[in-house]
């Protein structure tokens, strides 16, 4: 509808007439929201937009600090962060308006020096929004928001701010799906679908299994904790302070003898690397120092067993060899057999129904990215590597595990469960590039595919069928002398210039492209509009690349 604004709640038919409000003229709601987001006169907590006359005013108040009133054709937008009257973790993100302590004392204003001279000031902590006398936690105090009190005998005290429910994480928070959007150092998170102020590669569509929604803290990349890019241009990203859940984490089915995917759930006892080096115990700091045990508390870092706590390609370990800090382990892959692979691995085409296709395409026919076969988001399914160990359901590669017509995959688009892949059947009788074929090495390459209705350069080699000028007039045949007589450009004078019929041509190497004599008595000749081949086919090679990922 164009009236929703992220980060705000909307109340139709309401307005806030704060004394400090600032009036703006805008074109739409989004512009009004931008005024609020960049307001410098005060902390903007809400804005009111009048859809009838595009009126807009920002205010330091919201419905928690000032009564909202009815307003004809107005819509009140309140910033969600200022409406939340509970805390997460240590409550560094708290931006509510509570101003009394646990024992009922009134808070001292942060900018006052009486009765207590503060050593934490708004100037020192500009992002902590030490506003009025509201409870805040600028220094990450362990029990949450606090304030200096107006009681001369009590310098400061914690406030009694409630804990928000359902906001916790297990392990390193890869499962965290909550709504915290302020970092541990009080930076506001940047939306994942935005490239401003920080451009980044965590495209929510490409990481559809990671729930990169709005600007909530997430852990899509095996970090120690959830994090986000920040809205501060000088700080690219920052960790978030998410409380740990007190309930046990959901149980996972551990892989004990072999791995699927990248082996994150491997909990077996292999403890040697690919080059046969013994693994260093995770609890040891020799020969290699590291912090993995503290950083990844629930990734099964037992003994010296190979593990993948940080979402890399496969289980690994620090080695006991001084010279090799770490190495991947040789944990067998579930479904591995010694049978030779007999499929055309390097061809990006499939034979038969594509059951044997083992190529690297991971895009569907409509250009959607495939979902990992091991992932259950956005589509839950049973075609897992464990269930179909011989179908090579690696990563998100197109495969045909069920004997369908062609390779397919689940898509990362939540609205499209599966699609066939962007692959063609291999030619059955092709001689191209095969050693048995006898291509003539002297055969020159085709300059321009014949009859392709586009031109390269100035179109001197254009041999397409277009026979209408840029003004829509039909061309006169090159061999005709009516309505326009001509001698310079005829099939006889230029036999190699393709002057057959009445198609547009460029026999005289005109810099502006193909042309023709016209059938209009008043226009002797005119140019034709022939699209440029380059524009339409850049990046689309005739010989399809192998797309080789192998070593």
């Amino acid at each position: 509808s164009g009236t929703e604004v992220d980060g705000y709640t909307k109340t139709e038919g309401a307005q806030i007439l704060s004394l400090q409000r600032r009036q703006y003229s805008v074109n739409n709601v989004a512009e009004c929201a931008a005024k609020c987001d960049t307001e410098t006169s005060f902390t903007c907590r809400s804005f009111t937009y009048n859809q009838r006359d595009d009126g807009c005013w920002t205010a330091p108040d919201n419905s928690k600090t000032l009564m909202a009133q009815r307003g004809k054709s107005t819509m009140l937008y309140e910033k969600k962060v200022y409406l939340l009257e509970c805390t997460f973790g240590t409550g560094k993100q708290y931006r509510g308006t509570k101003s009394t302590t646990k024992t009922g004392k009134t808070c001292q204003r942060w900018d006052e020096r009486y009765p207590h001279t503060p050593n934490i000031t708004p100037e020192e902590y500009p992002r902590a929004e030490l506003e009025s006398n509201f409870c805040r936690n600028p220094d990450g105090a362990s029990e949450g928001p606090w304030c200096y009190t107006t009681d001369p005998d009590t310098r400061w005290e914690y406030c009694d701010v409630a804990i928000c429910p359902d906001e916790c994480m297990h392990c390193n928070g890869e499962d965290y799906r909550g709504r915290i959007s302020i970092t541990e150092d009080s930076y506001t998170c940047q939306r994942w679908d935005s490239q401003e102020p920080h451009s980044h590669g965590y495209d929510p569509h490409a990481f559809s299994d990671k729930d990169l929604v709005e600007n909530f803290c997430r852990n899509p990349d095996g970090e120690r904790r959830p994090w986000c890019f920040t809205t501060d241009p000088s700080k690219r990203w920052d960790y978030c302070d998410i409380p740990r859940c007190t309930t046990p984490p959901p149980t996972i089915a551990p892989e004990l003898t072999c791995i699927t995917g990248n082996g994150e759930t491997y909990r077996g006892t292999v403890a040697v690397t690919k080059s046969n080096k013994t693994c260093q115990s995770w609890s040891s700091q020799t020969p290699h120092q590291h912090y993995y045990l503290q950083m990844y508390t629930c990734k099964g870092l037992d003994e010296n067993y190979c593990r993948n706590p940080d979402n890399v390609a496969m289980p690994w370990c620090y080695t006991t060899d001084n010279a090799t800090r770490w190495e991947y382990c040789d944990v067998p892959r579930c479904g591995d057999t010694d049978e030779p692979v007999t499929h055309p691995e390097e061809e990006d085409c499939y034979e038969g129904d594509g059951s044997s296709y083992r190529g690297m395409t991971s895009e569907t026919i409509s250009g959607k990215k495939c979902q990992d076969w091991s992932a259950m988001i956005p589509h839950n399914h049973s075609y897992t590597p464990q269930n179909y160990p011989k179908a090579d359901l690696r990563m998100n590669l197109c495969r045909n595990p069920d004997g369908d017509e062609a390779p397919w995959c689940y898509t990362t688009d939540p609205s499209v469960r599966w699609e066939f892949c962007n692959l063609e059947q291999c030619p059955t009788n092709s001689t191209e590039e095969t050693p048995t074929a006898s291509p003539n090495p002297q055969t020159p390459s085709t300059a321009v595919p014949p009859h392709k209705d586009c031109k390269t350069g100035n179109g001197e080699t254009y041999r397409g069928p277009t026979s209408i000028t840029t003004k829509g007039v039909t061309c006169q045949a090159w061999s005709a002398q009516s309505p326009h007589q001509h001698k310079s450009f005829t099939p006889e004078t230029h036999p190699d210039k393709g002057l057959e019929g009445n198609s547009c041509r460029n026999p005289g190497n005109d810099a502006s492209g193909p042309w023709c004599y016209t059938t209009d008595n008043n226009t002797r000749w005119d140019y034709c509009h022939i699209p440029n081949c380059v524009d339409s086919k850049c990046g689309t090679p005739v010989a399809k690349p192998k797309r080789c990922f192998g070593r």
């Binding site: 980044h200 002297q442 797309r547 070593r551």
Partner: protein, 230 residues
Amino acid sequence: IVGGCVSKPHSWPWQISLQTTWGFHFCGGSLIHPQWVLTAEHCIHKSEDPAYYKVLLGVHTKSGEEPSRQERNVEKLMRAPNNADIALLKLQSPAMINDKVLPVCLPEQDYIVPARTECYVTGWGQTRGTAGAGVLKETGVPVIENKICNSPRYMNGEIKEDELCAGVNEGGMDACKGDSGGPLVCNSQNSYILQGVTSWGAGCAAPMRPGIYARVSTFADWINKTIEDN
């Protein structure tokens, strides 16, 4: 290219070989327009004189003795702003576009390739003992987000915003010396888009040391304007 495999002939028809006039290949490049090649700025350190260089198009082998070969002299050298490792070469005459010589598409200005996107790097550079020396090789490499690439386990803060990283953690597949200037392309909507220009690396194909590419999308406007103005 270390690892990877020998490419199918002419399946990367925008790949060019940048050579000295006496035929020594030292860098790659990408045809982005019939008369323009994009390469790495460090590839034109050898000489300020365009006449020092020539461009081979439509070839599969480094020696380039193929009927499809086209050879062009260089008319002009243009360096990208901000000391980026990107340069444009204007050819003295346009290349003949055909099924073996074809420009690659350019990305939109400031488009960011999502992490984990599978892209392909090609070139005639060193193979470090892996097969295929002398013929155009390719290898697929996933893109690594700059946040990860700048972490201590990878490149420890050395990667700038106008660069991108691509590679596999375990190493073994990478561009190498002689591939510089060549393309890193990613498939999108059935065509290949030039997202990177092979720039540098900490060795070749070492674990946790991905290849570093100049980020083409940062300079898309500059590229288009330079071509238009020249």
